[in-house]
Subunit: 362 residues, 4 copies
């Protein structure tokens, strides 16, 4: 019998849910043992529930095909089936917040892609290479809420992940970011399926994504923040202005970034050097989903490009390029990451791996 | 017999040249009387010379189809055929600079899309709604160079035209721009034909266009500059940082812009009001190619979009939208224009119309 | 006061409805006087009802912007407002069939894009250049149904129009078609809005369109059929096999066609000659929407192409090319037409013009 | 020291050459030991030679990066470096024919993607699942030409591979094909790099590919042919009509096929059964590049699709679907394969594996 940790996928029939199922196939520590979705899908076999809307390359993994889909809102059904749930449900934000709390209070480790708890004061928003120490909040969270084994940890919005790790690498060396401009060119898969109409995305771009600029401006402040008296306090010394665009690309968010440093200002060579040599806790722990090099710098003048760079290192690396002086701020560059892997399911799996290593998931 | 002013197209077989021929068909003041291109095309009928590479919608205008293409480097061939030449030749920059001077010294009014003379001290870089008074340099130019009827006027790079007129409208009201960030999402037609490979532009964007960021940062300074002692002096109080991207859009450059004002700071309502009421000399003179409203503001949250807005008002209007406060600078917005019409051939025709109204072209 | 014929658009907020409104702007004979749509839109101003989903280039025509949208299922509301209705409602097929009958029985001339009545025995399916004489059924229809001024006429499916006129031109010269294969590459706009997801149409084609192959195989038989004893009888001597594909093209259906003739077999030169010289009743009557040449033959080896040829002659011409011998049947060619103009709203307007000339619409 | 067979890639810097290098990385039997290309690339390191035009996902394999590129026309340079050459040179057809002969006469086993020798009477055109017995010509070829270890074997054009294996599976069961129509929707990568301009492939399709229809109609006849008196004789009982289109898809050729059988006519169920159970010699021999199931049948009504099915089974399987009765011939279906893997480099590697198993490569 498998000694792997049993995990459940909430929202298993959606695009992010399908990515969990695809990515967890053959995972050395975790095994998908439970799939849940909306009431309409409940009771069907997984294969049947995603019939005509399985969007992954390759077939549905054999191990999941015949699972009966449960109702994600019925927490009791998951008990004894799994100890960890990856939450990618598509519901009203308040309902998600309540549901995730219910799972956690029933002893589940909830690792969520949803935005509902991103600003809950005792919930960590984790990018494992950046703020692994934010997991120190978990004991506080458990104590405060009276949970013994349950927990909630969330991941950030996909739009910010093309530049957060590169910026963190610089900040860790003492180069604090003061202000920055970022313009994103975001892929279609970030909107889920069906997402934008092809009529709107052939021979076109759309310079607007609902709610995305606000998330891009606020979430980094928590991720770069600290735990003070058992609650997160944002890093309020950083100011970000974000313009978010949808472009006709399947996967891969690109970001054009201009940065002003607070005081000390690294040279371009130093920045490149810092990026190329950056590793962090996931690499030290050799977590299964950790990229060997979290930041890949490309010297070609026209890279990174989504079609060519999104899949680097299991689609878990951030690729950067075009580092150059900025005519207004201190420096500028282009960053890129795979939004449904690094920026969604893959990033959450890496967080779960970190939770396990820290002993919070058993 | 037609009393229209006879014009010639240099580089008539290329994409910009084809646009001139398409747009000048039926023009009330100008008539294409001469077409010239590279030595390879010289001697062929125009129809034959563009066979298999006529990229305009609709057929080649009847009036031009049977013209024999001349060699653009042979200035003498154009004499007595036309008095104005629109220059869209594709040659080495130095060769273009010399050739345009030769045309002008032979009495031709040269209106150029080429970058060769953009920073020549006595050559005006005209956006007719912004700096029509820069044509005051023409008498200086003629005197200095000993030309009686010849002249050179140029247009700016297409990448900047999505925001120059909106910024000018504010500056005219006393709201000086101090610093700005702009990220462009530029259409394929800006690269000419064949331009980027489809293999690179399906499911992809390219975050680099050779030379485009430099032009975007420098050209506005001259356009917003002044004539001092018979030569242009840049407006050096503005700092621009540009990120330029190529996206899979046929026509229409989009720009995401964040602006910091120098001193006084207009409210968002005031900005919108200024834009919606902006008109300038081309409108006052009712020039044939002048859009009725040079700036169209759209209130929908997801506009402007290239596919939907590029053709507004004969493709000569700039469409703006998404005006909102900026989290770092004072305000931000999205601008869009048709790069091969407003940003290239159409803009140059409007400049020529202005030159005629000012009496420099006869 | 305008003496134009007042027309109503049923389904005015949808993609085809919007095309009617765009195309009828400035029509010399017809004037949009009434717009109706689903109950959700009813009561709103037209501008408001299509807010965020106006998909035409250019703004909503002034003349229609402030119209209050009525409920299309309330026939009484249209009485005295218009005498002709263009039906582009999106409802269950049986409901459409009943509703169109109700309009007709209330005295309206119904010209429909819907498939509901295409095979009703006394309803003509009109392509004005092909079977204008099928309007002879109207008196029969009226008599049988007891209508004095009402009538129903329908247009065919858009998928077939890239080749029907070229085939008809040959048949009119005595070259009967016996069997044919057609593979279509159909544009996105044929599916209405939103239609296919961009995730499915970037870097992809879909080799299936629900119901389209059946329509493509059956409708030509009625169009090429005859009135016998007051009812249509199909031309059963033609056999068609259709493969229908969706491709990432905004507008313009392309068809690859191989044809076997029944007996006599024209030479390729003869076919080209027949096509280039083909005109029909709409051209003879100089109907406003009639293309000057219904069939445009292009000699370039790689034409027609949707992006380059769909707009030919007000987007009402069919463009053909690549005529060559077939290795299995007698000849093959490629045809193309604009599916939302020639193949939908524009084609129906041309039918209405013909109905007016025949005296059936007043 | 490696005991793998050393292979060379001729045309190693092009798109097909790059695919060879990517696909052969880690091959159990073959090892890339030699790379050659045009004179311009000769003398450079491979990494440098493909700088800015490496189009594969993932980096250049370490093992090849530092190889010095040789001149492909200098056969002597390859001697002692490798015993097999995969030919993907891009030259004049006659020059390729002569060059491949020169390699073979110098003892190299030449496996070619080029069309130069496809109709040479003693050269086999191999699709390993279909006509492995055509390799019986090799001893004849060697004897006739006086070669001891050299040989030439070629692969067919990529356009035909979406349907050849499915048709062969039926023919092997006694269902001879008499006539067929095929319309292909071919991917961009089939044209090499840069291939079509993005301006021509966004919002467009092109209904023409130079030379492709002729290849599609002729090559199957040789592949389905026989060796008679030491030379290939075509199967002249099959007639094919092909329409070839270029569509905006990166990889994956789709084919819409209608088939008329010669005499006996299998039921649709029987056809599906034959396809699902089809295996051939490469599967029996467990060749490394052989797909487990050469033909994958998908029951969904809208499959196969290039984006979703091209990568099936290492991109070496053909995916079919939409099997249904044809309104003119006997049956019709849609087939799809990955044109640069199954249809180019991968297919040639599979042929080389077969040559090794047959003892022709050592």
């Amino acid at each position: 019998m498998s000694s792997k940790i049993k995990v459940g996928i909430l929202g298993a029939t959606g695009m992010v849910g399908q990515n969990y199922i695809r990515l967890l196939e053959g995972h050395p520590w975790f095994e998908v043992a439970y799939v849940a979705a909306s009431a309409q899908s409940a009771g069907k076999k997984y294969e049947e529930a995603v019939s005509g809307r399985w969007h992954m390359n390759g077939p549905i993994p054999e191990s999941v095909r015949d699972f009966v889909v449960c109702d994600a809102t019925d927490v009791s059904a998951a008990i004894h089936q799994c100890s960890v749930v990856f939450s990618a449900v598509s519901m009203d934000k308040k309902a998600v917040a309540a549901l995730e709390l219910e799972y956690a209070s029933n002893g589940f480790a909830v690792v969520s892609n949803n935005s509902a708890h991103r600003f809950t004061a005792d919930v960590p928003m984790i990018i494992p290479e950046i703020n692994p120490e934010h997991l120190d909040i978990i004991p506080v969270q458990r104590k405060k809420r009276g949970w013994s084994s349950g927990l909630i940890a969330v991941k950030s919005n996909c739009s910010i992940q093309s530049y957060m790790t590169p910026l963190h690498a610089l900040m860790r060396k003492g180069y604090e970011v003061k202000r920055m401009f970022v313009t994103t060119l975001q892929a279609l898969s970030g909107a889920g399926y069906p997402g934008p109409s092809a009529l709107d995305m052939i021979d076109n771009i759309v310079p607007f994504i609902q709610g995305e600029e606000e998330k891009s401006e606020n979430e980094p402040l928590k991720i770069f923040g600290k735990i003070v008296d058992g609650a997160f306090v944002n890093n309020s010394s950083i100011k970000i202005s974000a313009h978010c665009n949808r472009v006709p690309v399947i996967h891969g968010h690109t970001a054009c970034v201009s940065v002003e440093f607070a005081q000390r200002n690294p040279s371009l060579d130093e920045i490149k050097d810092i990026w190329q040599n950056f590793t962090s806790l996931p690499q030290k722990l050799s977590l299964p989903f950790a990229p060997l090099k979290p930041i890949i710098y490309r010297n070609e003048p026209n890279r990174p490009q989504p079609q060519k760079d999104r899949d680097s290192d299991k689609a878990m690396a951030v690729t950067v390029g075009r580092l150059r002086a900025c005519n207004v701020f201190d420096m500028r560059f282009v960053g890129l990451h795979h939004n449904t892997v690094r920026g969604a399911a893959g990033g959450a799996i890496l967080s779960a791996e970190l939770l396990k290593e820290r002993g919070f998931i058993k």
